[in-house]
């Protein structure tokens, strides 16, 4: 499905002029290409290269063969970090998706509230992860935070001091920041669904719940994939939030891959093993992106409006 209002007419491109033209525009891509290669692609390959070396971050870089990989792959820390990364990803998806979907459906149908809610909903997205993490660690402080101040026993837990609670808090904070954003994505998707589909369902006598599951959900397939991709790939980048909120703790209960990499590299000065973890992080990211793309299947344009 495309959001574009396509230009009214399109003149078919003449292939004869394209050849000559591409020469005269090709150079314009060079500045972006140069910077992206130097600080995007080269570091990507560099991470792979460094994973076969030994480096403390300051001195000489020495080749070390497979040492880093052996160290990383045999250490239980990696499996644990992978598990926590997966948990954060899965739980934040499971919590955010139904919420965003329902709120999005509501926003799409109510133009009157949409403007107001959209403005306010956007605020969490403007705050830096650092600011959010700092706020929540003060807000959830067991001695002086919200729970203690209000005297509500249920709220007064050592939120960031116990492994499971800390993970839950993390998922909540992520949802706090991103559910509004994903709701806005979903409302955009819902508004693209052709009315004729609902009219047809009406004629066939489908109930509201049936209509939701038979029309709204399938029609939102690509929106769901887009939103899920952003959530899943985005969950790999929660470094700032976790670093400031829990620093991986208590113990290692919120130690995700990116944090494991940072601590190995910049705290323990083991850049080799840290680079090996970085490579794993890249592979996880690329793998997920490809997987989700696959789920999307075929070209977007044809199947979306099938039967309209």
């Amino acid at each position: 499905m495309t959001v574009l209002a396509p230009p009214p007419t399109r003149v078919p491109e003449r292939s004869t002029s394209a050849g000559g033209r591409s020469k005269s525009v090709s150079w314009m891509v060079l500045p972006a290409l140069a910077v992206f290669v130097a600080f995007g692609i080269v570091p990507l390959l560099g991470a792979l290269g460094l994973s076969f070396t030994q480096w403390d971050g300051i001195g000489q870089i020495n080749p070390a063969g497979l040492d880093s990989w052996k160290a990383v792959l045999t250490e239980p820390g990696l499996l644990h970090a992978l598990w926590v990364t997966f948990l954060v990803m899965a739980l934040s998806w499971v919590f955010q998706t139904p919420m965003s979907l329902l709120i999005g459906v509501f926003l799409a149908a109510h133009k009157r509230y949409r403007g107001l809610l959209a403005v306010l909903y956007f605020i969490p997205l403007l705050l830096s992860s650092t600011a959010i993490a700092i706020t929540y660690s003060a807000l959830l402080n067991p001695n002086f935070g919200l729970g203690a101040g209000l005297g509500v026993e249920l709220l007064n837990q050592d939120w960031l001091g116990q492994g499971n609670l800390a993970l839950g808090v993390l998922i909540f904070v992520v949802s706090w920041q991103f559910i509004p954003f994903h709701s806005l994505i979903y409302q955009g998707g819902v508004r693209q669904i052709p009315t004729s589909l609902y009219e047809a369902a009406e004629i066939d006598g489908a109930g509201k719940i049936r209509t939701f599951f038979s029309i709204t959900l399938p029609q939102l397939k690509y929106t769901i994939i887009t939103s899920s991709t952003l959530m899943v790939v985005g969950s790999l980048t929660f470094f700032d939030l976790i670093f400031v909120l829990t620093a991986g703790g208590p113990g290692d209960s919120t130690q995700v891959l990116a944090l494991e990499m940072y601590q190995l590299g910049f705290k323990a000065n083991l850049m080799g093993p840290a680079s090996a973890i970085a490579v794993i992080l890249v592979l996880v990211g690329l793998g997920l992106a490809l997987l989700l793309r696959r789920l999307g299947g075929g070209s977007e344009a044809d199947s979306q409006l099938e039967g309209v």
Binding site: V3, A5, P6, P7, R10, S17, V25, M28, V29, P31, L33, V35, A38, F39, G40, I41, V42, P43, G46, M99, L102, I103, V105, F106, L107, A109, H110, L120, Y121, F122, I123, L127, S129, T130, A131, I134, A138, G145, I179, P180, I185, Q187, G188, V190, P194, T195, G207, K208, T211, T226, L230, V233, D240, A258, M261, F266, M271, L281, V282, G285
Partner: protein, 301 residues
């Protein structure tokens, strides 16, 4: 191309559509949305309570903070916290953040715009441009954190460690893929006849870029600039690993070290949160419409 720029579709949309007559339809709407609606408003409360708490607490005195109901407005509002934050060198961090954000975002959007133009105009006849486009698309999936170690190495070798330039260069690189993608989509919407008539008028591609594509894609340029600017302004990991002296700190890093230093003084810490967020809120108030429609459109396809 933004959702909001389309003519409003003549439908109320959503599963809220009722079955039969207009009367039942209205009733049906209300009944369905009782659930989605209460969720929407409930979540608004969840979103707003912490924000409200940040703001009121930042005006409380320390003594007041410990004894007062946390959700009650301050009995004796004070600006003392803000004074303390500003004295803790936040003006310095603020200047650094402005330099880094402007220095990374403007060049990034500019060169991305040129690249997007080249990709749209030349891809049909150029394998090179198609593969560059593919490279940028792949770049969307590279998490920045995964490459910070090599970036750190490169920056050291370039003798740029602990400078603002060290933050700016990688920030530009990582803003490019998404900017090119979004801008290319917008440039594709410019009717081909306009390009053709520019060509017949004897305009060069460079001239067409500035006199035709630039004004027509201005909304997209603003959206992309705000979006990338927000990312750089709030960026944490690059300043964390590429700088070390307090002189070179950007706001998020300054915020973090301020918390480390004055963590027990919660109202002052929250005042620092307010101060670092204020500039973004002001920008948001100005560019809100474009940001919202641009973002939801860009991701909604």
């Amino acid at each position: 191309m933004a959702v909001s720029t389309r003519p409003a579709p003549p439908r109320s949309g959503g599963p809220a559509l009722a079955r039969q007559s207009g009367g039942r339809r209205k009733w049906g709407l209300r009944r369905w949305n009782w659930f989605g609606g209460s969720l929407g408003w409930l979540w608004l409360v969840v979103v707003m309570v912490p924000i409200y708490w940040i703001v009121i607490t930042s005006f409380k005195t320390r003594a007041n903070y410990y004894v007062q109901n946390p959700l009650a407005p301050p009995t004796a509002p004070t600006l003392e916290n803000y004074r303390q934050v500003i004295e803790a060198d936040f003006t310095r961090y603020f200047t650094n953040s402005v330099i880094v954000t402007a220095g990374a975002t403007l060049p990034a959007v500019l060169i991305s715009f040129m690249a997007a133009y080249a990709i749209v105009r030349g891809s049909a006849g150029s394998r090179f441009l198609r593969s560059v486009n593919g490279l940028f698309l792949m770049g969307l999936a590279i998490p920045l954190q995964a490459v910070v170690i090599p970036i750190y190495l490169i920056i050291i070798r370039l003798q740029m460690y602990d400078t603002l330039m060290a933050i700016i260069l990688p920030s530009i690189a990582f803003a490019i893929p998404l900017s090119v993608l979004v801008l290319a989509n917008f440039i594709r919407d410019v009717p081909k006849e306009l390009f053709e008539s520019m060509r017949l008028d004897g305009a060069t591609e460079w001239g067409t870029l500035w006199r035709l594509a630039f004004p027509l894609t201005r909304p997209a340029l603003v959206t992309v600039t705000i979006y990338q600017g927000l990312g750089v302004w709030n960026g944490f990991i690059l300043p964390l690993i590429l700088t070390q002296s307090p002189d070179q700190r950007t706001l998020p890093l300054g915020l973090w070290s301020f918390q480390g230093q004055y963590g027990v003084n919660v109202p002052a810490v929250l005042a620092s949160v307010v101060l670092t967020t204020l500039p973004i809120l002001i920008c948001y108030a100005i560019g809100r419409r474009q940001l919202l429609s641009g973002l939801t459109a860009g991701f909604g396809r």
